[in-house]
């Protein structure tokens, strides 16, 4: 992997860290939305490597359905930013074929729900190819787009696909949360020689996060397969990915006021899953709550629970709690939709249950 790789251990501003920060960087922390982070990552990768090209519906003239690819058509021209017809199976397949011969496509799905029309290519043509060809063919492709629930968009636009893609060997599955995550992981994904499924979240696009100066460096990459401890704690571990990291952090704040110190792990990488970090954390805190927006059966939380039970059973002081989305297709009515997606209260309640406090 090219580029500078930094191990991100903690973003908690301890005094030590602040001193370190003030030594290295003189300017105040810059804020960036996830949308700008993704846009800048794409821009930089496209300018660094002429083999990188974008493909998807409305990525060019319309500036991107969610404006992630804004300005890229003007900068790189219609041969590198391709507006496709509405045919996911077709253009995903074209992308995979291009990747077989060394180009580096970044295929955008308007939402990952539409990737179901192309899933044959993602799994069968992209993920399995390196194996089936005994290493002769590598597929340096990135499939990206918003994943999971948005607001009031109904059952066919709200499913989370992390578990589906995460169960497939040959694919790398990434789920950024903050702007730094988005930038670092997208750059790493584009430079990676394997197919990467990059799951963003529509509701995070507009959120601003502080970015360090090194994250603005055009070679900034995050390692694939490493989770990040967003908040250190000692009483229990909460794992989450994508939008749920925000909820978990808020829950940790609430818990802190009640005397429970929660450690929040931002998974970042669903496949390969950072089992080492999760287990190390559980061995420290002895309790685990997994949070995800997706359906619970066969989900990411289930995999984490299995991993912890296999490797750190003796360290567990309480059963693992799994918070997931309701086991129903997403309803449209606003009050029902709220009930179908985990809220901060659910995480707090589950945390208290693990700590044997009354709810």
């Amino acid at each position: 992997m090219l580029g500078i790789v930094r191990q991100r251990v903690s973003s908690v501003p301890t005094l030590q860290r602040m001193l370190y920060a003030s030594k290295s960087f003189s300017s105040a922390a810059k804020e960036m939305t996830v949308r700008d982070a993704l846009n800048s990552a794409l821009d930089e990768e496209m300018s660094a490597d002429p083999k990188v090209f974008l493909m998807g519906e409305e990525v060019g003239d319309y500036q991107g359905a969610y404006k992630i690819t804004k300005g890229l058509l003007e900068k790189y021209g219609p041969q590198r930013v391709l507006d496709t017809p509405i045919t996911e199976a077709g253009f995903a397949g074209i992308g995979v074929g291009a990747a077989y011969y060394g180009l580096r496509p970044v295929v955008e799905f308007m939402t990952f729900n539409f990737s179901m029309q192309a899933i044959d290519h993602i799994i069968n043509s992209a993920a399995k190819s390196n194996y089936m060809s005994a290493g002769q063919i590598s597929v340096p492709i990135v499939f990206r787009g918003p994943n999971g629930a948005a607001a009031g968009v109904g059952a066919q636009h709200s499913q989370c696909y992390a578990a589906w893609y995460g169960s497939c060997p040959g694919l790398k599955v990434l789920t950024p949360y903050s702007s730094e995550d988005a930038r670092g992981l997208l750059k790493a994904a584009i430079r990676d020689p394997d197919p990467v499924v990059f799951l963003e979240n529509e509701l995070l696009y507009g959120e601003s996060f502080p970015v360090s100066a090194e994250a603005l460096n055009s070679d900034f990459c995050l390692p694939i397969g490493k989770a990040k401890i967003e908040r250190e704690g000692k009483d229990l571990t909460i794992t989450a990915y994508s939008k749920m990291v925000g909820h978990a952090l808020k829950a940790a704040e609430v818990l802190a006021k009640e005397g429970i110190s929660a450690e929040v792990i931002n998974l970042l990488s669903i496949r390969p899953l950072d089992r080492a970090a999760i287990n190390a954390s559980v061995r420290k805190t002895n309790r685990l709550v997994t949070v995800e927006e997706a359906f619970s059966q066969n989900g990411v939380g289930a995999e984490i629970c299995a991993s912890v039970v296999e490797e750190s059973f003796e360290y567990l002081d309480a059963p693992v709690e799994r918070i997931a989305g309701a086991d129903v297709p997403m309803p449209y009515a606003a009050n029902l939709e709220r009930m179908a997606v985990p809220q901060v209260d659910d995480i707090v309640r589950a945390a208290k249950r693990t700590c044997f406090r009354s709810v």
Partner: protein
């Protein structure tokens, strides 16, 4: 290919692009403005692709223009006093009322959306009413309509009450699917409205399936009176999707009672049809699969109705599918979240001048089928209906908590038995703990 069976239904061999301006069977006089794209370098020229000699080749061309009957009436149109009207007074008023309902309803949706009463993705149908009214008003109650996310007006035309559609958009429990679906997922078993599908192209195989069922009922289950027809509506962007072609093939192969209606409004969000399609003439794709392909001016409800009559009758007789391309236009953006910046204002003005409602109104008045007063009364009635629908929706309750778990399985016991021995889905407290269900 059994080309001989189609010979009886072919009325004209040459293609015809119908516009309101002039009408001629000679392709060389076809005005190029019928495909008006804003990307100038891709301006489509029908002359290059459609020289008449091209069609006199080996295979029979199942390209049907507007029917002969219609063509004669076009010539008479300029002199209305000669009679031979296209529509009776009752039908005219029914269609007019339906189009006004569609228009007022969609305008009210826009207002309500900006007031925060409805949310998510809302796709409005303004400008395309002629297609919906032209086709659906000819159908029986048992005929099926399969739609896309732009389905409010299809639902209304098919007979779903406006108050139910409005409640659904507000997410209330009195909506046609009790608030579970929203704008993009309208279903009504009673009116045989199947969706609302959010995915492009998803409705086409479904529609082919309902047509298959109709034929199966008649031939295998021996329900002799089952001659139900399915009408599938979808857009121009869908015609580049694989499912479309797969279903054209199977529908023609098995002679299913279906009409494929392409609402070609030239734009898919911000992508012009001309930039996305190698051959933009969608009606030509019908004959490639062995079914008639028709192009009709979708801004003129009378022309649409004429073509629809033939296509629906064809399907009902058991002669198989038809592909109808309606050249139409949406006056608003793709959805209410779309700023609609890419479309050329002159293109929008061109089509705004061909507003189907104004055109029908003019026809009815000029041919003395209805007076201004009658039409005004209809408009007033519809306004009141839509306002009442909004009030009804506002006053309706939000869904109860236990609705979250209903209808996941047709088997109501799908969630199993809870620890208290009762069926989980029947226990309103099951949803306590929100996501922890």
């Amino acid at each position: 290919m059994s080309s001989s069976t189609f010979s009886s239904s072919i009325n004209a061999i040459k293609p015809c692009f119908c516009t309101t301006k002039n009408h001629s069977l000679n392709p060389s006089s076809i005005p190029t403005s019928s495909f008006f794209g804003s990307t100038h370098k891709l301006r489509y020229n029908p002359l290059t692709a459609n020289s008449p000699s091209f069609f006199k080749k080996n295979r029979q061309t199942h390209i049907v223009a507007v029917s002969d009957v219609k063509q004669k009436q076009q010539q008479l149109k300029s002199t209305p006093s000669l009679g031979n009207l296209l529509i009776t007074k009752e039908e005219g008023l029914e269609v007019y009322e339906d189009m006004i309902l569609g228009r007022s309803f969609e305008d009210m949706c826009a207002q309500m959306y900006y007031r925060g009463k409805m949310f998510g993705f809302v796709h409005l149908y303004n400008g395309q009413e002629a297609v919906s009214s032209g086709f659906i008003k000819l159908l029986k109650k048992q005929d099926t309509v399969v739609s896309t996310y732009r389905d409010h007006v299809h639902a209304l035309s098919k007979g779903v009450p406006a108050r139910q559609v409005m409640s659904e958009l507000f997410g209330k429990t009195t909506g046609c699917v009790r608030g579970q679906g929203g704008s993009m997922h309208m279903f009504s078993k009673e009116h045989n409205l199947i969706g609302g599908f959010a995915f492009i192209g998803e409705g086409i195989p479904i529609a082919t399936g309902t047509a298959f069922t109709s034929k199966y009922n008649r031939e295998v289950l021996k329900q002799a009176d089952c001659d139900h027809v399915t009408v599938a509506f979808f857009g121009d962007g869908t015609c580049n999707n694989g499912q479309f072609f797969e279903c054209l093939n199977m529908a023609a192969l098995w002679k299913l009672p279906i009409v494929f209606v392409v609402e070609n409004n030239l734009w898919a969000i911000g992508m012009s049809h001309l930039r996305a399609t190698s051959d933009p003439e969608i009606w030509k794709k019908g004959p490639a699969f062995g079914m008639p392909g028709v192009h009709v001016d979708g801004m003129d409800v009378l022309k649409v109705r004429e073509v629809a009559k033939e296509a629906v009758e064809r399907a009902r007789r058991g002669d198989g599918p038809t592909l109808v391309e309606c050249e139409t236009y949406r006056f608003r953006g793709h959805s209410l979240a779309d700023p609609d910046e890419l479309r050329d204002p002159s293109e929008k003005a061109h089509y705004a001048a061909r507003d189907p409602i104004t055109a029908l109104k003019k026809y009815l008045i000029e041919n003395k089928l209805a007076s201004e007063a009658e039409l005004k009364a209809i408009e007033k009635k519809i306004d009141e209906l839509v306002e009442e629908a909004v009030e009804f929706a506002d006053a309706s309750p939000h869904p109860a908590r236990n609705q979250l778990l209903q209808n996941v399985f047709a088997d109501p016991k799908g969630f199993g038995i809870g620890p208290d021995g009762k069926y989980r889905c029947e226990d309103p407290k099951f949803t306590e703990g929100t996501a922890h269900v």
